[in-house]
């Protein structure tokens, strides 16, 4: 059930790379403790939208936004809002598994250490709980101090998920997290996401419409920077209101 108060509210959001408009008049509410799928063809603004939600696109020269993004009612683009503090509340997993070149353990405690957590027992507990949550603990518990780069692609991506969870964010953004993974690794990530929505709000960008159908509670369909349709996943896939949605989910383009 959607909670009455949305955790994220996007209002009339426009995003521009220089003169090129990438996001057009997006308005949507994202309820807490659900998995929101975002689907759409390449270049439809899905990734830009995600990177706008944690202000990672602030780092892209020439990118600017108009409109409002409210996280728990507060505008994240308000001049007084600190982007660094925001990113601790809105975590992100990237398309390619990207462990930092350090040990599994150090990868996971990277965020907490930035916050000044030094207590070894607390860090140890955090490493175990986040790896459990990402369904990776049993595979790596005996080699936490080996490099994260030595894991397989699927394990690396679950490590990245655990690393994001270690910051205890409110919202977890995933940008096509399974695009380079085999079906079994994909299934593990999907299982983890389904289990995680009890504690987090998850926004999952995916190229794979079937994945959205499997995992997402609600799904948004993006096309050319516009939000075409946003509704309950089953409804979007079975009785879409917009003919373009229908064409996309039935595989007629994209």
């Amino acid at each position: 059930m959607p909670s009455p108060q949305p955790i994220l509210s996007v209002r009339h959001l426009n995003g521009f790379y220089g003169q090129t408009q990438a996001l057009r008049q997006l308005s949507l509410d994202i309820p807490a403790n659900r998995v929101i799928g975002i689907i759409g063809p390449a270049g439809s603004g899905k990734t830009t939208f995600l990177r706008t939600l944690n202000r990672l696109n602030d780092l892209v020269p020439g990118y600017r936004v108009e409109g409002r993004v409210l996280l728990n009612g507060a505008d994240i683009y308000h001049p007084g809002q600190d982007a660094v503090a925001l990113r601790k509340r809105v975590g992100m997993v990237f398309a390619l598994p990207m462990p930092l070149p350090m040990s599994i353990y150090d990868n996971i405690v990277y965020g907490p250490r930035l916050d000044g957590v030094r207590d070894r027992a607390r860090l140890d507990a955090l490493v175990e709980s986040t790896l459990q949550a990402a369904f990776l603990w049993d595979e790596v518990k005996d080699r936490l101090h080996t490099s994260g780069l030595r894991l397989s692609g699927g394990q690396q991506q679950r490590l990245c998920l655990a690393r994001t969870l270690a910051m205890a964010p409110d919202v977890v953004l995933l940008d096509e997290p399974c695009s380079g993974l085999d079906p079994i690794s994909t299934a593990r990530i999907e299982d983890a996401l389904t289990a995680l929505k009890a504690r987090y709000t998850i926004i999952l960008v995916t190229n794979n419409t079937k994945q959205a159908a499997r995992v997402a509670d609600d799904t948004a369909f993006f096309l050319m920077g516009e939000l075409v349709e946003y509704s309950d996943t089953r409804q979007l896939f079975t009785v879409p209101r917009d003919s373009r949605t229908n064409d996309y989910v039935t595989g007629r383009f994209g």
Binding site: L59, K88, L100, P101, Y110, G111, L114, T146, T164, M167
Partner: protein, 280 residues
């Protein structure tokens, strides 16, 4: 129409490329062999650890060993933070613009200036104007300025080679720009930075002109940073040029070559250990 069939051009290419490599190696080995052959007979513990007598005609080279240790060390201690700081600022804190292009062009020009010019500058500025005299300090500062462009450029290249995805991951985990530089960028750029430092140390150890102009050529052990020192390279130059002692000159050169090789070996060993530790 082809002049020759591919298998002949291939054979010719391999011969020429292999020949070039062999020639380079032969020249290098000949120089090292020649210097060690002529120099090693003079070298021993007493040569290394005793004071020179009669301008270096007899006795050892101990003060010049100390000078060769201290001067590059001081230069690196000054140039490393300045150079790495500049490189980090240029690559991480500024966007590419006309200003950074001009700064980069300037550092490239500085890197190509003959060392004697730096020596002259150091003599006028540090030795005379700032009244530091011929001293360890004047020499260290001058050599630091001399190697600064090399350190800046190698560090810049090393920082640019760090994948941008690492930075994005760090930012996405709530790191500031500085935390990202400190915890992700610099550790991954370290091998390149070490290379720059090694090049810098090599230039300092081998430098004569700029050192004579700024650090002088005193054969006494320095007691303070304001004392003049003589490095092995300068000692070799003076012994050979003034015809004081060819044996001791070659002895000094042999020690110099061994020292440079040792410094390089240690640096590479440290670097490999560092890399291995991070990817274990």
């Amino acid at each position: 129409m082809r002049l020759l069939p591919p298998k002949y051009t291939q054979a010719i290419a391999v011969t020429l490329l292999g020949g070039a490599t062999l020639f380079t190696l032969a020249v290098l080995l000949f120089i090292i062999g020649f210097v060690l052959d002529k120099g090693l007979p003079a070298v021993g513990l007493s040569f290394l650890f005793s004071n020179p007598q009669d301008m270096g005609r007899a006795g050892g080279i101990f003060p010049t060993v100390i000078g060769t240790l201290l001067l590059p060390l001081l230069a690196i201690a000054i140039a490393l933070p300045l150079g790495v700081g500049t490189a980090v600022y240029l690559t991480e804190y500024t966007r590419e613009s006309r200003v950074t292009a001009v700064i980069r062009f300037g550092t490239d020009c500085l890197a190509g200036i003959p060392s004697i010019i730096f020596g002259l500058f150091g003599f006028i500025f540090f030795v005379t104007m700032l009244k530091m005299g011929w001293s360890l300090l004047s020499g260290g500062l001058t050599l630091a300025i001399m190697i600064l462009p090399t350190i800046i450029r190698t560090t810049e290249e090393a920082i640019k080679a760090v994948p941008n995805a690492y930075r994005e991951v760090s930012f996405s985990l709530g790191a500031t720009r500085w935390e990202t530089v400190r915890k992700v960028v610099l550790p991954n750029a370290l091998p390149g930075i070490v290379t720059g430092v090694m090049l810098g140390i090599g230039r300092c150890i081998g430098e004569t002109a700029a050192v004579i102009f700024t650090a002088g050529s005193s054969l006494r052990l320095p007691n303070t940073p304001f004392d003049s020192v003589r490095t092995m390279a300068v000692h070799f130059y003076i012994l050979a040029r003034e015809g004081i002692s060819n044996d001791n000159a070659y002895g000094t050169a042999a020690v110099l070559i061994i020292a440079v090789l040792t410094v390089n070996l240690i640096a590479y060993w440290l670097m490999h250990r560092f890399i291995a530790k991070r990817s274990r």
